[in-house]
């Protein structure tokens, strides 16, 4: 298993500003995933981040809006840029378990409210 810490756990932001979410894992992992969970909805994959390469974004998500860094095998950041109220969501960092089966371990999430 992996223990994942996310910061901040929650924040209230003003429209037009940007916020960076940090994700720290207690072990080295190859793949890290960023998900968005809008209020009352399921999880939607934003992007996959591998160390040493550009993040791979899913349809509907672009690097200018959600830039991601992955400087090493235990850390990643997701920035939500030029925020609007529609960006109010829980953002979840996750990592793959052993054996590349798609089993994921999750942080507790970062709850963002944009006013």
């Amino acid at each position: 298993s992996a223990v994942i810490s996310q910061k901040p756990s929650r924040d209230i932001c003003q429209r037009g500003t940007s916020l960076t979410i940090q994700c720290q894992v207690d072990s080295q992992v190859t793949m890290m995933f960023w998900y968005r969970q809008q209020p009352g909805q399921s999880l939607t994959l934003i992007a996959t981040a591998n160390q040493g390469s550009e993040a791979t974004y899913e349809s509907g998500f672009v690097i200018d809006k959600f830039p991601i860094s992955r400087p090493n095998l235990t850390f990643s950041t997701l920035t939500v840029s030029n925020m609007s109220p529609e960006d109010s969501s829980i953002y979840l960092c996750s990592v793959d378990g052993q054996g590349r089966t798609g089993e994921l371990f999750f942080g507790e999430g970062s709850r963002l409210t944009v006013l």
């Binding site: 793949m31 909805q41 939607t44 798609g102 507790e108 999430g109």
Partner: protein, 113 residues
Amino acid sequence: AQSVTQLDSQVPVFEEAPVELRCNYSSSVSVYLFWYVQYPNQGLQLLLKYLSGSTLVKGINGFEAEFNKSQTSFHLRKPSVHISDTAEYFCAVSDLGGFKTIFGAGTRLFVKA
């Protein structure tokens, strides 16, 4: 591409009653299947997974699920629920490389005293 359909958005049930949360998936290739639970204000936690082998999978907290390939289903069951089982439950599917996991819309289980 894969997709996941959870047939019930909410399931209210009395304490100590049995419960089944339904999940159907669609995929043109073989997949791995998962159930996750999300308690209020927490991240997701794996309940159980089907990778291969026996189609009846047992997980934590007394939950089990059965993989039915012909019906492309992976329903979650518990014979007797507790108040503490109140949470959101997500069915998920991933490709065999584990590169992408797709989640269903979730089922809110509400256990009443």
